[in-house]
């Protein structure tokens, strides 16, 4: 075996990527060594179990993936606007749309939202960490190594190329030999462990660790959306786990679950995939709804209109999301009756979604709106998302879907819901809670530039795609020099670059704000408009979050606390606080499992067995680990609080 056997060779773009990856790697190594930061990296980040730090790492990874997925997208758009340039060949194009889709959903949208949940949910319910902090670190590292594994595929071994849906029989061993599809299977499997564990972890945290007095129907709406999302995760992800495992066994050990031969059922993959896949799209939209609700209520300076209805509509959406999966394969050939049933259930889902839209509008109605950057993202979300929802209902009509299916109309639909929904929410949430995380706000002027560039870029990019779809342009096609399609494709590409520009301004703003933004002095960063408990903490948030946990028996408790002059520090009530200790075990355990997955990708069984054994040894160590954490002494709490509050 020679190194060139597994490195991808012959593509100038990939050589460029290899060189730049190596350069970045060397630069990081050099910087960390030069500034003697290795110890810091290990002590402060790699071994942390603090939910706030883990959240920051999630968000950083997600931004990195947004960049990677974004570059994939730009490359596809260049190919489509200038088809005669021969920029990408068909194989390369296939690999790029596959990694783009997978990365954006699994390694960008979910970790971004999970990162925000990590940081904000415990603060919103008055908890000092997750229910299982060790498990939380484990989740992050499983996601991280899964992401790393998936991302190296394009330089080592070759990327998967069967679409993010990875339909069999195409993705089976017979038609996609080699490691490509294995990267998909193992990357998703590894990171899926983390997602499932986070689902359970947050569910327990929210159900068991709320501040005294806080009933479920007192919880902030973002926490509610997280809880509902966790239920979907816990019920939907096992289906993906099983489907991935079956396909892995098919590919690596030669079984025949999804093969064409040996009475396999290739269509069963599509069925299982979408049984997870549709709930998955709700996993990434419900937290987004939660974020928008928080932002809109804060800057409309009103209690969220119809709080109870908002909660119930989320619960109904969650239930319905398990009953519509067939709408992704109406054209597979089930009879008219089956399609009709799922057509109706699909359209039903638009009802609770519409209810939510009206509630947001009613919250805004006659309010004094403050046009901050997070509010701009949230306001832009409403009309944009409606366009996505309406076209979703069009797709939901089974008969019409025979025309729309797998055309650019579908592409436009899901980008309208995923970008205008999830991505806008990620930006809104990040800007909104940024001061809580980093102690300073993002610059508003640059933030507005980023917003307007991204917003216009988005519509210019995806609106024409509805019409491309209606003109018959199919998805996943790299030859598009059909004269009728060309003008719209060029417009769309211009829009895509507008979004890219917006992203660059956003990232520059991170740097700019770090250098120049005023440091926060109070915890209630948005002109004192905070309504929920996270704004009651000081900035920066002490690692134990709350010196004393307030008693809560209403929605938006911080509004009253401010009126009554109360804080989360009642000196007389301070007691020693029990905190979990940092540990390197999660990192090491998941590194072993990452190695095992890497071995399985190339079907090097010795590596796989070694990695798995390492993982098992780490689990056994964990079983006999009686570290109960430590207590923060009262003196230290008082000192920290007085300093933070300037008392």
């Amino acid at each position: 075996m020679h190194i060139t056997d597994i490195l991808v060779t012959g593509e100038p773009i990939i050589y460029g990527a290899m060189v730049s990856m190596a350069l970045v790697g060397i630069a990081l190594f050099f910087l960390l060594t030069y500034f003697k930061k290795w110890g810091w990296l290990w002590r402060e980040w790699l071994t942390t179990v603090d939910h706030k730090k883990i959240g920051v790492m999630y968000i950083l990874s997600a931004l990195l993936m947004l960049f990677r997925g974004g570059v994939d997208a730009m490359m596809m758009r260049v190919q489509l606007a200038f088809p005669d340039l021969g920029f990408l060949n068909s194989q390369h194009y296939n690999e790029i749309f596959t990694t783009h889709g997978t990365i954006m959903i699994i390694f960008m949208a979910m970790p971004f939202l999970i990162g925000l949940m990590n940081i904000i949910v415990p603060l919103q319910i008055g908890a000092r960490d997750f229910a299982f902090p060790y498990l939380n670190a484990l989740s992050f590292w499983s996601f991280f190594f899964g992401m790393a594994l998936f991302n190296i595929s394009f330089v080592i071994g070759g990327s998967p190329d069967a679409g993010w849906t990875s339909y069999t029989p195409l993705s089976g061993a017979a038609m996609s030999p080699g490691p490509g599809q294995n990267f998909y299977l193992m990357g998703l499997q590894l990171s899926g462990i983390g997602t499932l564990a986070t689902g359970i972890n947050l569910m327990v945290t929210i159900l068991k660790m709320r501040a005294p007095g806080m009933k479920l129907f007192h919880m902030p709406i973002f926490t509610w959306s997280t809880l509902v999302t966790c239920f979907i995760i816990v019920f939907a992800f096992p289906i993906l786990t099983v489907a991935l495992a079956l396909l892995t066994i098919d590919r690596i050990f030669g079984s025949q679950f999804f093969t064409l031969t040996g009475e396999g059922l290739p269509m069963m993959w599509a069925n299982l995939f979408w049984m997870w896949g549709h709930p998955e799209v709700y996993i990434v939209i419900l937290p987004a709804f939660g974020i928008f609700s928080e932002v809109i209520a804060t800057f409309a300076k009103k209690r969220l209109f119809g709080y109870n209805v908002m909660v119930w509509s989320m619960i109904v959406i969650a239930l319905l999301s398990f009953l519509v999966w067939v709408h992704h394969f109406f054209t597979m050939g089930a009879g008219a009756f089956v399609n009709s049933v799922f057509s109706i259930s699909t359209m039903l889902i638009a009802v609770p979604t519409g209810v939510k839209i009206f509630n947001w509008l009613a919250t805004l109605y006659k309010s004094k709106i403050e046009f901050t950057v997070p509010m701009l993202w949230s306001l832009a979300f409403i009309p944009s998302f409606i366009l996505g929802g309406v076209t979703g209902v069009m797709l939901g009509m089974a008969a019409a879907d025979y025309q729309f299916h797998n055309s650019y109309f579908l592409i436009a639909h899901f980008h309208y819901v995923l970008i205008a929904g999830t991505v806008f929410a990620c930006f809104a949430g990040l800007v909104f809670w940024y001061p809580k995380m980093f102690g300073h706000k993002m610059n508003e002027r640059l933030g507005k530039w980023a917003f307007w560039l991204f917003f216009f870029g988005f519509h210019v990019c995806f609106f024409p795609q509805y019409f491309l779809g209606l003109d018959g342009m199919p998805r996943r096609l790299f030859i598009t020099n059909v004269v009728e399609w060309l003008p719209l494709n060029v417009i769309s590409t211009v829009g895509a670059f507008g979004m890219g520009l917006g992203f660059i301004v956003f990232v520059y703003n991170v740097y700019y704000s770090f250098r120049y933004s005023e440091r926060e002095t109070t915890g209630d960063s948005w002109n004192g408009n905070g309504r929920t408990l996270e704004w009651a903490t000081t900035t920066p948030v002490p690692y134990y979050n709350f010196a004393t946990v307030p008693y809560v028996d209403e929605i938006d408790p911080y509004v009253r606390m401010k009126e009554e002059g109360k804080t989360t520090f009642e000196e007389s009530k301070v007691k020693p606080i029990h905190m979990p200790s940092y540990t390197g075990q999660p990192f090491i355990m998941m590194a072993f499992l990452g190695l095992a997955s890497f071995g399985l990708v190339f079907e090097w069984m010795y590596v796989a067995v070694f990695g798995l054994l390492g993982g098992v040894v780490m689990m056994i160590r964990r079983s006999f680990d009686y570290d109960d954490g430590y207590y923060v002494p009262v003196e230290e709490i008082k000192r920290t609080e007085k300093k933070a509050r300037g008392l």
Binding site: F235, I239, M268, M275, V326, G333, A334, G335, F337, Y626
Partner: protein, 124 residues
């Protein structure tokens, strides 16, 4: 935490060994034995039920009493069963219902045979 040091959780050890043994027996039945297929399937099914029993009674909280606010372990299990129902019934519904091979005068069937034949020819 404190009492976890006191004694070995025998219940869990036995359950763990049992579930490993049953898994190995199932694997052997499928890969190594010469039993007729029907018996293998029946045997695996029975093992699966026993396996579920071990998990539920020796590891999960079926035997636990109702907790403070009236939550019984069956609560969550009910959701699990509902989901399993959706997956199994739903798959059967979408995967086998309405793929009409026998309707419309068997036209579909006919075509399939022809394709099959063509493929056979080109294969030789």
């Amino acid at each position: 935490m404190a009492n976890s040091k006191k004694r070995v959780p025998m219940n869990h050890v036995i359950g763990f060994v049992l579930s490993l043994v049953m898994t190995l027996v199932a694997a052997w039945a499928a890969i190594g034995s010469d039993l007729p297929v029907t018996w293998i399937i029946i045997g695996i099914m029975i093992l699966a039920l026993l396996q579920a029993g071990v998990q539920l009674f020796m590891f999960m909280h079926v035997t636990e009493a109702e907790s403070g606010n009236g939550h019984v372990p069956w609560n969550m299990m009910f959701h699990g069963f509902a989901l399993a129902g959706i997956i199994v019934a739903g798959s059967l519904f979408t995967m086998s219902f309405g793929f009409d091979h026998d309707h419309g005068g068997g036209g579909g069937d006919h075509q399939q045979h022809e394709e099959q034949e063509q493929q056979d020819h080109s294969g030789h």
